[in-house]
Symmetry: C2
Subunit: 117 residues, 2 copies
DNA sequence: TGGTTATATTCCTGTCAAGGAATACAGATC
DNA sequence: GATCTGTATTCCTTGACAGGAATATAACCA
């Protein structure tokens, strides 16, 4: 469910920048506005998207709202990534010749040739 | 900046489905069309996006074009993820237990090729 | 209460991406 | 060359999203 919003939330470079800022430490909106060079409304809208994706959470501090990273969805991403990481490790193994078309890498791929049509 | 195109390429659920299909094995376009339930032109357009993001590569086989996953950009994603994974581990440590949510038993499988988000 | 600060929301507009239909293109076979 | 298959591309329409300006809301303070 949150998967779709998670990916699309992180698809925006500004939002990734915000997430990177929050990786260092939690920050109030004003600080994010200043650091990103976005307008305050725009920043608030991005923060809303990140909130709805579960990537950040808010703590109210007087009039300020301090945003902090919530790493749980990141773990989701990580889990999604896992099978691909394996493939990547295998292909690192089989490295040596990776020009754009090398049909002989099937000797290292465990399950390629079942391509009957 | 293949980074931007990488994220936006994966932001689309159909394209993630295609990528998941190609994780199993390389496939010609027709097979992807059938598996995803998209039209052929739409599928070709998605494949173009994935190609331009470096996520897939093509091998020509007679009239068919066989697409295969290229795991290198995935490694880029993984690198981006690394600092957050650290944060996640730290918070796991400090947390102990905050699992009132559904346990993510599907967390090790990539998305089903059937588009569900 | 009124004013000030900090943030969120609404309205509007331009841009961009997705999907469908039709078409173009490439390779194979005859 | 004619034609068939498989795939890519173009054109068009529609919907989603980003950003700016103005405004609303909430918390604090005098």
């Amino acid at each position: 469910m949150s998967d779709a919003s998670l990916w699309s939330a992180l698809a925006d470079p500004h939002r990734r920048a915000i997430v990177a800022l929050l990786l260092e430490r939690p920050r109030p909106v004003g600080e994010i506005v200043e650091a990103c060079g976005l307008s305050q409304p725009s920043t608030s809208k991005h923060l809303k998207v990140l909130r709805e994706a579960g990537l950040v959470r808010v703590r109210q501090d007087a009039q300020r709202r301090v945003y902090a990273l919530d790493p749980a969805p990141i773990a989701e991403l990580d889990a999604w990534l896992a099978p691909y990481r394996e493939l990547w490790n295998r292909s690192l193994d089989a490295l040596g010749r990776r020009l754009d078309e090398t049909p002989d890498d099937t000797s290292h791929a465990p399950e390629e040739p079942t391509m009957k049509d």
